[in-house]
Symmetry: C2
Subunit: 239 residues, 2 copies
DNA sequence: ACCTGAACACCGTTCAAGT
DNA sequence: ACCTGAACACCGTTCAAGT
């Protein structure tokens, strides 16, 4: 506590805080918010923390683990209450999944990494708990709920991964235009089915499709028995 | 045709073929098959083609476009006939989607890029045509078919992206173990729903889950009306 | 134990210059 | 028009050496 002059080394840097996993992840989140996940590299992060990249490896195994930690931090923003929705489990489930999707929408590349590197952080577990709970109120079987939760999260994550990059990435627009042109350019003789469904293939807003996709899944999940349970299931010839 | 001695420059290289988009893509596919998509870089590809990376930019706009071309080449391997299946549209649809998924399973990272960069190559269009045709035989509305096809392909692609990387990536195994441990470590008081569904949350083989996921989607797609059509739809409050 | 400098082995993309 | 060398501006990760 005695004001015995700090050495004032490192010129004047304002109180470079000690390295720690928490501090590293927080800084990574800050960089992502400001400039996107693609800028959250070991080297850039080290620079931001005023050290060399090698120092980070004491706290973080590799870039994938770093991104996983950033993802979990972000999942803390998901509105688990589903406040905006009514009282029914279905509306609340839709609200929670929509909130999850919107959070991922804000951060394009993170949705992609979520599809690949299975999260297991505390915020992810909280989200999972909430979704299992809500879906179980549908009255579906344990197995339907368990497998269904996976499908719901996969769908939301994939939608975010698809859509979000289309919003933020300049080239994504071109891809969509290319597909639109390609579909319109198909001939009636070689691609009759596409021709016959053309307007509908490209119709609907993102929100409309998301909403419909949710209904499709919930209807399907609650009405399709899981094979190998008490429910009368179709014979499964798959290993 | 006269055997007038070739200059025999460049030492002895065996007939370096002229650069062309086709040749570039073919070489890229060969590298991917041998060493994975992560090795299909502009620099590595140029090296394989015995030139400098800058030369490739005459034929290919960037790495993303290159990967898209590789993906479309690969889609040529999908079994569109669904030979193995019976006569019903449902079995054939399952067969085609399974074939699509299996092709992506072989090449992990490509599935991920397929989720992001909407393909529009000729092989993709052929696949799309076939799936639209099969699903339309269900008798579902034009809109249900059109939007449903998207969901089916998204589901298959996401499953491949998720699963495949888990198979090929050494670290993916660890992720799954981490999740398994995290789920088992949850407390009954903070995560009761997870606890109650635990065995089922982790049960089922990939094939079983894929099969069930297909049934869920087809059931849901054919029974959930698309909003804004003649079908009696639930009121949509989403923009 | 924690931190670091320096190195190794790579990337994508551009651009001026050549043929 | 096509091709290229060389450069610019980056990467992740490791390792021996320091404190």
């Amino acid at each position: 506590m005695t004001p015995r002059r700090e050495p004032l080394s490192r010129r004047e840097r304002p109180a470079k805080p000690a390295l720690s996993r928490q501090w590293i992840v927080d800084t990574a989140v800050r960089i992502m918010r400001a400039e996107g996940l693609e800028k959250v590299t070991m080297r850039r992060l080290a620079q931001e923390l005023d050290t060399g990249p090698a120092s980070l490896y004491v706290y973080v195994a590799n870039t994938a683990e770093l991104h996983a930690a950033v993802l979990d931090a972000l999942l803390g923003e998901v509105d688990l209450a589903g406040e905006t929705a009514g009282d029914g489990w279905r509306d609340q489930l839709l609200a929670v999944l929509t909130s999850y999707t919107l959070v991922l929408f804000e951060h394009p590349q993170l949705a992609r990494s979520a599809l690949v590197a299975r999260p297991s952080g505390e915020n992810y577990l909280r989200l999972l708990e909430r979704i299992v709970d809500l879906l179980s109120r549908s009255g579906a079987s344990r197995e339907q709920v368990a497998w269904g939760v996976d499908k719901l999260l996969q769908d939301a994550t994939a939608t975010a991964a698809e859509q979000s990059t289309r919003e933020h990435d300049p080239a994504a627009e071109d891809d969509w235009n290319a597909l639109t042109r390609a579909l319109h350019a198909t001939s009636r003789t070689t691609h009759p089915a596409i021709k016959a469904h053309l307007p509908a293939l490209l119709s609907g807003s993102v929100a409309e499709r998301m909403r419909w996709g949710f209904d499709v899944l919930v209807d399907g999940i609650t009405h399709t028995p899981v094979p190998g349970t008490a429910d009368p299931a179709p014979p499964t010839s798959v290993s």
